[in-house]
């Protein structure tokens, strides 16, 4: 379907970007097809699975449901933006250490959501992590190792207070 294009400007992983997007394009398609940021995954396309989770102004959303035009003036962080100059961020590292990955397709969204949960609640319990990850489906590992990884990040933060 044809639709008019509009120019938007926003921060993507800390960098200012400016581009024209069709007004019905979703943020996920813009990230992957227009900006080449393919870390964020397309799976269900209807907000059920969380594989496309990104942070907008510090809050996680399903990028498959979000109109790209609504990124205008906002801060977008994708899985590519979690990495620090020192390497993987603690949540990414914990997923690696705990083998919380099998096929890996759900991981970018799972890590974005888990990272956001711990960021908003340093004392996150396992049960709160379970509730917080309800919108992220994994069809191969089960969730035990994912929750172990989240627990490990919470514990590590408690002991040094600055990870």
């Amino acid at each position: 379907m044809k639709s008019v294009e509009t120019e938007i400007r926003f921060k993507l992983n800390g960098r200012e970007v400016c581009l024209k997007v069709p007004v019905t394009m979703k943020t996920l398609a813009m990230l992957r097809d227009k900006l080449g940021m393919t870390g964020t995954k397309y799976a269900c396309g209807e907000g059920e699975c969380g594989a496309c989770t990104v942070k907008i102004d510090g809050k996680t959303v399903n990028s498959c449901l979000m109109y790209a035009v609504d990124c205008d003036g906002r801060e977008v962080v994708t899985i590519e933006g979690l990495r620090t100059p020192e390497g993987l961020n603690p949540m990414q590292q914990a997923f690696v250490d705990h083998g919380a990955v099998q096929c890996g397709f759900c991981m970018p969204g799972m890590i974005m959501q888990a990272d956001s949960l711990v960021e908003n609640n340093p004392n996150l319990t396992r049960e709160e992590a379970q509730r917080g990850l309800e919108g992220n489906l994994c069809r191969c590992t089960g969730y035990t190792k994912v929750l172990d990884a989240v627990d490990a990040v919470v514990e590590a933060k408690k002991c040094c207070g600055r990870c």
Binding site: M1, T24, G45, V61, N62, L65, D70, G135
Partner: protein, 292 residues
């Protein structure tokens, strides 16, 4: 298929309403309903796409005296995390807690959830028991005009409301519940998250002097629209909470649920099962309200 020729993301309400005056704008806020509905073809875009999320004055929760006002673009997350709503309308916070997933709660707006007019919309039963109204605004005679519609007169059929195409839902309004008002919400689905309710029930009542008063019961997914269960309400109004008559009160309320709930068989559940869930939920919430 319609070509979209205009995209607008105004900051002022009057600009938005003027753009809607021809009744040909597709309005969105979080986009969590519009996106999948247009992708799957159950809804078509019109020539004008209007993003209302940036309009000033449409966000936030405000309590002035006895009046509560929730701006239409307030997200479900904001309701879920609102300390003031937790204090004065916990039934709404409880429903927000059971709404989809965090990613969707962060994007979806309460006004959008009502305008989507799903019989299963999670914000409808708690707002119905709070006796809420919606504020509808339009541009007429060179000015912003508003009207208020009680929520139980807002829904017409699945996806349809009394809101005119040139009107925008700007806020949800209700009075601060009286002292002793207790509310409860229940919804059912195969898992707690991301569930389109098989059945939902909300009950609110004033519990004082060992009696129920101002009883309001609302149900979702049991009819073409969310509804107030007037027969159940009548069976409960003024009833005492004492142990001797309580079982009979519950039985009387449960017995008339079929007068209000007219569920259908569909992919999510059979009508029989829905009727059963309604009876179970009414009993459960009544016991909780009494125990409170």
């Amino acid at each position: 298929m319609q070509e979209i020729t205009t995209y607008l993301a105004p900051r002022r309400l009057d600009e938005a309403l003027q753009a809607m005056a021809d009744g040909a704008a597709t309005v969105f806020c979080g986009g969590t309903d519009l996106a999948p509905q247009t992708e799957s073809g159950v809804r078509q875009y019109t020539a004008k796409l209007l993003n209302i999320r940036r309009i000033e004055g449409l966000a936030g929760i405000e309590v002035r005296g006895d009046k509560v006002r929730i701006g239409a673009v307030t997200t479900i997350s904001e309701i879920r995390c609102s300390p003031v709503l937790a204090e004065i309308a916990p039934v709404l916070v409880e429903a927000a807690e059971h709404f989809a997933s965090e990613q969707i709660r962060n994007a979806a707006s309460v006004g959008g959830n009502l305008c989507n007019a799903s019989p299963a919309g999670d914000m409808s039963p708690p707002l119905l028991v709070l006796d809420a109204s919606v504020e509808l605004a339009c541009w007429r005679d060179g000015a912003v005009q508003t009207r208020q519609v009680p929520l139980d007169q807002f829904f017409v059929s699945p996806g349809k409301t009394v809101k005119l195409p040139q009107e925008l839902l700007t806020a949800i309004l209700f009075d601060r519940p009286a002292a002793g008002f207790v509310g409860r919400f229940r919804k059912s689905g195969p898992r707690p998250a991301l569930e389109i309710s098989t059945v939902s029930v909300a009950l609110g009542a004033r519990v004082a002097d060992d009696r129920l008063s101002d009883v309001r019961v609302a149900m979702g997914s049991v009819a073409p629209t969310p509804l107030r269960a007037r027969h159940v309400e009548a069976a409960l109004e003024g009833k005492p909470l004492d142990a001797a008559t309580w079982a009979a009160t519950i039985a009387a309320a449960v017995a008339v649920t079929a007068e209000d709930a007219k569920p259908i068989d569909d992919v999510r559940a059979s009508a029989w099962y829905r009727g059963h869930l309604v009876r179970v939920f009414v009993e459960e919430v009544l016991n909780e309200v009494r125990g409170n």
